[in-house]
């Protein structure tokens, strides 16, 4: 689930940090740049593990700050395909489930990857919610909100950043445009697709 990645980056150290020890100031700047950000093909940056080297310290003409080149390692959240992870239910709709780890919430289990055979029931406790129920040997096994759910990583994707979200130049009716913008989900730079369709996956309460 967690991998270390080695990065080299040139950064500008603002003058107000000159009173701090150099490695503390550089680490602070790296944390503000990388922490909780998704790097394409590397994953979600969780923490700065350590700083391997700091070079430079040059002050360019017209600039009051010094520029350093730092080599460091980041702890990245990047699960591999086939990894089994525990998560909690965040949303349950007709399109499938949305799971969350707390620090990462863009995990989707789509309908073809749900445990088979299944049926759905309306969920009275959640507006527009659906309760998914697995049918096995004549028994019904629902997926409840309190369960810890184990899923297997089916794929990890990094969608490209949209140029403009929700705006269609051919759309003239402003009311329809507003409705479409409300339905759109916010952009997710990293999306994990999970599968529950195997023995041992799904709520842990099913297999105790």
């Amino acid at each position: 689930m967690f991998v270390m990645s080695e990065i080299e980056h040139t950064l500008r150290l603002p003058p107000h940090l000159l009173n701090l020890p150099l490695n503390v100031a550089i680490k602070g700047e790296l944390e503000s740049l990388f922490l909780d950000k998704v790097i394409d093909k590397l994953g979600l940056c969780v923490s700065v593990y350590d700083i391997l080297s700091i070079d430079g310290g040059f002050i360019f003409p017209g600039d009051g700050a010094s520029t350093y080149t730092a080599r460091f390692r980041l702890v990245m959240f990047r699960p591999y395909v086939g990894e089994v992870i525990s998560a909690r239910l965040k949303e349950s709709t007709k399109n499938g489930l949305r799971l969350s780890l707390g620090f990462f919430g863009d995990i989707y289990v789509l309908v073809p990857l749900m445990p088979n055979p299944y049926h759905t029931e309306p969920d009275p406790e959640h507006k527009n919610g659906i309760k998914w129920v697995w049918e096995y040997m004549g028994e019904n096994y629902p997926i409840d909100w309190t369960d810890e759910i184990r899923f297997r990583v089916h794929s990890v994707s990094y969608p490209p950043i949209p140029i403009e979200q929700g705006i269609d130049s051919e759309q003239n009716d402003s009311e329809e445009k507003d409705l479409r913008q409300k339905d759109l989900k916010p952009f997710a730079p990293m999306v994990i697709t999970g599968s529950l369709d195997a023995d041992g996956l799904g709520p842990t309460a099913w297999w105790v």
Partner: protein, 112 residues
């Protein structure tokens, strides 16, 4: 930004939790004083609820030594350490190999 090595090492959940604990995450209930960022606290809170909070480095080393005879892939061993399956059905999605011969080892791995 230049990526020198995209995979410079794999960390178990326990190692990431130990990293945050070494920075004082577990000792600060206010989540303000410790040198741990709010986003790092979210990861810490998740890992505290997993089996990693009950593991030690000795347990993990012993498990890796005991599993050498099964010739498991590193990723599979890492996954088993992270989720700690307590029955054969829980280990089944982790280990894809369905060879009849290998099924005999499932129970012994769980017992380890």
């Amino acid at each position: 930004m230049k990526i020198l090595q995209s995979n410079a090492g794999v960390l178990t959940n326990y190692e990431v939790l130990a990293l945050f604990r070494s920075r004082g995450a577990g000792k600060d209930p206010t989540c303000v004083i410790a040198a741990v960022a709010p986003s790092e606290f979210k990861v810490y809170d998740y890992l505290e609820q997993t089996v990693a909070s009950h593991q030690t480095i000795e347990i993990i080393h012993k498990f890796v030594e005991d599993c050498e005879k099964y010739d498991l892939a590193k990723g599979v061993m890492l996954n088993i350490v992270n989720i700690r399956p307590s029955s054969a059905v829980e280990i089944d999605p982790v280990i894809f190999v369905k060879l009849l011969l290998f099924c005999c080892y499932l129970n012994t791995i769980v017992d380890s």
